[in-house]
């Protein structure tokens, strides 16, 4: 019988393979855009909070303090990177696992990693949307960043979607659909406050910041616009890359074993 793996019936052309990856990504994005109650908060919150604090409430004071105005703007931009990956990956993967969808896709000939790459594409697209909203809000916040600075900051933050996607992926592959939102929040909320990008940490507690991937991304984004930053850029990249690779590897291993 047809036990030959080279049988043309079982080989995918590169064009078909690419089409499979793109189709998976297209429907992943479409699904999240169709759930505004789920995607809305992490898409809209960063710019809304920035407008509330940076423009409406403290706009006048910040107008006299360009350093603080920049700190707030860059802080909310980093905050915007965290949501799509942590929530978008974490909760959707936990839910899909519980629905048996991952098992079905493992049984079907879905190209390896298509589901994960689709989710990564989704979180990159969503971070890009958030960056567009932040860039649009920037002139309201008494800032005078150049187009190159805004492009640099956006590029760093869009790449920053990967480590947060890996964190979400890791949680989503271990937690049940019920536990995932709580676990994501348990990490997400302290990370907002303890990474020093919205509220500066006291000197004695600065070591805590360095444990957070958000701190390292924030420093890279500051560097991209030429603002004062701490630490070696290569060290920040190394931390973010390590988080991405290690957590993705652990999650992929678990997905392959238990679905």
């Amino acid at each position: 019988m047809t036990a030959n793996p080279e049988d043309p019936g079982a080989t995918m052309s590169t064009r078909r393979l690419l089409h499979a990856y793109l189709t998976e990504a297209k429907y992943e994005c479409l699904r999240l855009l169709r759930s505004p109650a789920f995607a809305g908060p992490f898409l809209g919150l960063p710019v809304l909070l920035y407008l509330l604090f940076g423009v409406l409430l403290f706009g006048d004071a910040l107008g006299k303090d360009p350093k603080a105005a920049l700190f707030l703007f860059m802080g909310f931009a980093t905050f915007g990177v965290m949501g799509p990956g942590m929530f978008g990956f974490g909760i959707t993967i936990a839910t899909e696992r519980e629905r048996g969808l991952f098992a079905l896709k493992r049984a079907l000939p879905m190209p390896p990693a298509a589901a994960l790459l689709a989710k990564l594409a989704m979180s990159i697209l969503f971070v890009a949307i958030i960056m567009v909203t932040m860039v649009a809000a920037e002139p309201l916040g008494h800032l005078k960043l150049t187009a190159a600075q805004l492009a640099g900051m956006s590029a760093v933050n869009i790449l920053g979607a990967a480590p947060f996607g890996a964190i979400g992926l890791f949680i989503g592959t271990w937690a049940s659909a019920k536990a995932a939102p709580a676990l994501v929040n348990l990490l997400y909320l302290p990370m907002i406050y303890l990474s020093g990008f919205l509220i500066p940490m006291p000197k004695s507690l600065e070591w805590i910041e360095r444990l957070s991937p958000a701190f390292h991304l924030h420093q890279l984004a500051l560097r991209a616009i030429g603002a004062p930053n701490v630490g070696l850029p290569l060290a920040h990249v190394a931390v973010l890359a390590a988080v991405t690779v290690v957590l993705t590897a652990l999650a992929v291993r678990r997905l392959a074993r238990v679905g």
């Binding site: 019988m1 793996p5 079982a10 080989t11 429907y27 629905r99 493992r106 049984a107 879905m110």
Partner: protein, 297 residues
């Protein structure tokens, strides 16, 4: 590996904790056949399918799909799958669900063709989450056939379907087998196996209890079922030679017999008022009950 089979389990043992789900199971799927896996809950039907799909790994023995490990995506490109307890994304439309799964295959059918074949065209733009349970099963069936696979694994495909939809799915399954496809089907509905299967494998406690064509399975248990309206006592009839079991259902007696002719003669002689006499060969249901009961004794 037998060159003439598409999927194969050989001496497969699988445990879940202390529970032995499969106990040295041998099973093969041949080209062009519809194989029905029957068995009570917990018999190991879904476990057997999961092993052939590579979702589970055997502790002992081997699982092969087209002569390869089922973990190889090349092997899985020739199969279609419909599983139990799977809910695809509720926020994708019917056509989109089919389009997505079709993208995994080298040479799929167009979603429109698949929807026509599975009677889903009127539902094309409906969100999956808004469908009835029966309609959801139909979409899952469409997802299983859209890649034009040579071999399909269907785990309880007609659960939740109304009679009309079930008949329509049966017709499609017959057509697929007629076109040279092979299907492995697990079912609780014995009439489904009886209506469709070329070969039946009865599983219980992770082992094959019996395997063969529907008529071979019937012949395994050479019993006949006799029904009639009679006032004769159950105990009296039960004592006659050739009578297996007797039960009363209102005015009716239900008798299973190994020697139907003799029992019918005796019935007519003993009860002149006997009415509505009905004699038929045991169906798969009786065979199945008897086989699985014998196994648990």
């Amino acid at each position: 590996m037998n060159n003439n089979c598409l999927a194969e389990l050989k001496g497969v043992t699988k445990r879940f904790g202390a529970v032995v789900a499969l106990d040295g199971l041998d099973l093969e799927v041949r080209p062009g056949e519809l194989l029905a896996l029957l068995g009570p809950n917990g018999a190991g039907k879904t476990t057997a399918i999961s092993l052939m799909l590579g979702l589970l790994q055997p502790e002992r023995g081997t699982a092969r799909l087209y002569g390869q490990s089922p973990l190889r995506v090349e092997a899985r490109r020739r199969i279609g799958v419909m599983m139990q307890e799977v809910s695809p994304a509720p926020d994708l439309r019917v056509r989109e669900q089919i389009d997505l799964v079709a993208s995994y295959y080298p040479n799929p059918a167009r979603p429109e063709v698949v929807m026509e074949m599975t009677h889903l065209t009127p539902l094309a733009r409906r969100y999956y989450g808004k469908l009835s349970n029966g309609q959801k099963r139909q979409v899952q069936f469409a997802m299983a056939v859209c890649g034009r696979p040579k071999l399909m694994f269907l785990d309880e495909p007609t659960v939740g379907l109304d009679v009309q939809a079930r008949e329509a799915m049966w017709a499609t399954l017959r057509q697929l087998v007629g076109d040279g496809g092979s299907i492995v089907l697990t079912t609780h509905y014995l009439e489904e196996a009886e209506a469709l299967a070329d070969r039946v494998v009865v599983l219980a406690k992770g082992r094959v209890l019996a395997a063969g064509s529907v008529s071979e399975m019937r012949a395994l248990v050479v019993r006949t079922r006799i029904r009639c309206v009679s006032t004769l006592a159950v105990e009296q009839v039960g004592a006659w030679p050739g009578v297996g079991s007797v039960t009363r259902d209102g005015p009716r007696l239900e008798i299973t017999a190994t020697n139907a002719e003799a029992v019918v003669r005796q019935l007519l002689a003993a009860d002149e008022d006997l009415q509505e006499l009905e004699v038929r060969r045991a169906g798969l249901a009786e065979v199945f009950t008897e086989l699985t009961q014998e196994d648990t004794k």
